[in-house]
Amino acid sequence: MHLLLIHCCTEFKGRCVIINPFVYQLEDISKSYEGKKVLSVDKLDIEKGKIYGIIGPSGAGKSTLLRILNFLEPPSHGNLFFNGMTVTKAGKHVLDMRRKMTMVFQRPILFDTSVYNNVKYGLAARGYAKKDITKLTSNALDEVGLTEFTNRNARSLSGGEAQRIALARAMVLKPEVILLDEPTSNLDPANVAIVEKITKRLHEKQGTTVIMVTHNIFQAQRIAEEILFFFKGKLIERGSTDKIFNNPQDDRTGAFINGEMIY
């Protein structure tokens, strides 16, 4: 009990305040489409400030999990907590929670306007002042190394550039959580490296919780501190990256990371 308190206690104005160490808590969450269950998680806690890699074969429910975490889809069953608060139906309170997180998709959808307008979109949605928007947007473009594209139409960019803009558009919001859904699977190696570097830097500088779904187990190994292995809609195993790669407990995990899984 004492240990737990130390773990969950932080100094605030000289007083000890209990804080919730988990950004997400899932209880008995499941998702079905047309009667077919695609995801079923009994219990899953995601700690704040870590980089998670979600791996597993196609159809493992990885993207569905991400969509549930981002409130894009409600679970068919179960409870989802964000920062200790229940996530229910849409409403102002859900919008406020959602604004603490953002997501980058496999195929970046950039709006048909300038790169600048794309990156500032979320800031404008949050009602930032114009001068702050200008400053934050140019900083974000600088972070991804695409300042010279500021006034270009976003639709004229290559795949790698577009994904970097999508990342800038997400990180400019300084989210508590960033959800990445196979962000590099369509990119060339140089852009893969850039995206990984930006993601790590975001985590280091701002303590952002990163949850990345990836097909690429080596990418998970390079980036993640903790791995969640999903198979057929179920969480099979979780653990530190080192443990999962060197000493997996489940045969299926071992088979997957050794590329021996047939699916």
Binding site: L72, F105, I109, F111, D112, Y121, R169
Partner: protein, 232 residues
């Protein structure tokens, strides 16, 4: 061939001479069709956008109806408006039959399904991909709707152009409810019909060419606006 050539010469001559009758006809045509398209856009764009953002299954029947009305024969639209506006009709006391207002009404009825139907498709195309992205960036519901419409703007613009193309070229409805009264409700298409019947092919051809040129100019202008939108 000789007549086409003579028509071209006649058209050029009429334009250069700024023939008053011709100008009145052209001006009225534009006035009626532009007013009709603006009215139809004000109704059709929000309606199409609303339907395009709903699940396709829930609007299936309405969509079929709109698609059917997109091919509504102008004479049928003319007939319905005629019946509504005629002395014995429910709107008879307004005394609108055989006025430009009646023609605007008929053309609005023709343009609404086109603008609504094409906007619906454009918005539906954008809806899924844009919605998720806007939502994950923290947009409120209103901002999401606005973003989707903005992303579909080019296709919506094309819907308006298509609506204009349909009404400026139609003859059946304006003939029935306007009556082709010289100096009052005579527009390019009804004048072409009349001049052809009179055997005045050169004047008719001249008007036809002017009609084409006007359609071309308006289309070019709209494309230019679209280009500017893109560059901003």
């Amino acid at each position: 061939m000789v007549e086409i050539w003579a028509g071209l010469v006649q058209a050029t001559k009429l334009i250069i001479d700024l023939d008053t009758e011709l100008l009145a006809i052209v001006f009225l045509s534009l006035k009626v069709s532009i007013a009709a398209v603006i009215t139809a856009a004000l109704i059709g764009i929000p309606l199409g956008a609303f339907l395009g953002m709903r699940p396709p299954v829930s609007v299936r029947w309405l969509e079929k109806l709109i698609n059917t009305l997109m091919g509504l024969p102008p004479v049928v639209a003319g007939l319905v408006i005629y019946l509504l506006l005629s002395n014995k009709g429910p709107l008879g006391p307004m005394e609108l039959l055989f006025t430009p207002m009646a023609m605007i009404t008929a053309q609005t009825v023709l343009a609404i399904p086109i603008i609504t139907g094409l906007t619906l498709v454009a918005v539906r195309d954008k809806h899924k991909e844009i919605k998720d992205t806007a939502v994950t960036l923290g947009a409120s519901q209103q901002m999401v709707i606005w973003t989707i419409i903005r992303e579909a703007k080019r296709a919506i613009m094309a819907a308006v152009v298509a609506g204009f193309g349909r009404v400026v070229a139609e003859v059946g409805a304006v003939m029935m409810v306007g009556g082709n009264i010289q100096g009052n409700t005579r527009v390019m298409t009804t004048a072409i019909v009349l001049e052809t019947r009179k055997g005045n092919f050169q004047f008719a051809l001249g008007l036809g060419i002017i009609l084409l040129i006007i359609a071309f100019i308006i289309n070019s202008l709209l494309y230019r606006i679209q280009g500017e939108v893109r560059n901003n």
